[in-house]
Symmetry: C2
Subunit: 145 residues, 2 copies
DNA sequence: TCGAAAATGAGAATCATTCTTGATCCAGCG
DNA sequence: CGCTGGATCAAGAATGATTCTCATTTTCGA
């Protein structure tokens, strides 16, 4: 992952009187290397239990609160997190209906622009003020094909 | 809701050796009248506790298994269900980031067509076989504006 | 009408997540 | 240098949604 990200995160936390501690840095690093959202349990395994689960959850919610992480709610009450879009850019998700894998995928800017226009129209008509959107493409991944 | 739906559901269940019992009918009726996905707890309240929670959960998973309901995973480990698209047509969701309300919204067919094309291209490039997609528009609803 | 399969209800059990409590760390200050 | 308060941490209890168990009941077809 780009070391740049850690600097941005540290700065953002500092702005809010928070610190970039070891646990938080570890979480950001793992998510920066991942190719999709990760759950607390997955991160804990990645970290080989170096961070107690309770602390890990707390780190995740602090980072979410600070806008560093974005939550992603998937199957069976599992919440997975990923780095917020201001850190890694706008993207969408491919979700494998068979194995549950979630993978990031970028979308060409021209389509994204059209999507934005459409969303504005649809939401406005319903009295909604759209602030963001998420497109999930479901299907079978390469391995589960 | 259209009575038609109940007939289709009954037929589909029958095909799989399942019955359209009182509890299942009640669930389908409530969801048919709702303007968005509903959780087990919300349905239980709607039904004034006529159906025990354990039975309600079972009904929901049987109906999901049979392809009658589609699950929708929202914040805080809440799973909400709605009638599957073959019963009520393709649509997307407006999600209020403030109060959590989820509302159905139809999308003009021309945009939907463009979306499909795009999705095919993006997914194909990543080795995915897309079978479905979900677009969630986040923002503030009329009341939380 | 009988028997097998399907369905039910009540409560216990599970699992991810959150809360509570008390200890620890650290930057800035005197 | 040592104190002080906010920030952080660890450990376990608590919570809340969901699933499981099991004994009982209902339903459908032969």
């Amino acid at each position: 992952m780009q070391r740049n990200i850690l600097r941005q995160v540290e700065h953002r936390l500092r702005d809010r009187g928070l610190r970039l501690t070891d646990a938080r840095r570890a979480v950001v690093e793992r998510l920066g290397d991942a190719d999709g959202p990760r759950s607390a349990a997955e991160l804990s395994a990645d970290l080989d239990g170096e961070v107690p689960l309770s602390s890990l959850y707390r780190s995740l919610s602090v980072l979410e609160e600070a806008g560093v992480l974005a939550p992603h709610h998937g199957v069976r009450g599992l919440t997975r997190y990923e780095l917020a879009e201001w850190l890694v850019g706008h993207h969408h998700h491919l979700v494998c209906t068979h194995c549950g894998l979630v993978e990031d995928v970028p979308i060409p800017t021209d389509l994204e622009a059209r999507l934005d226009t459409l969303i504005g129209a649809v939401a406005g008509a319903a009295g909604f003020s759209p602030s963001d959107h998420a497109l999930e493409i479901e299907g079978r991944c390469e391995r589960c094909r």
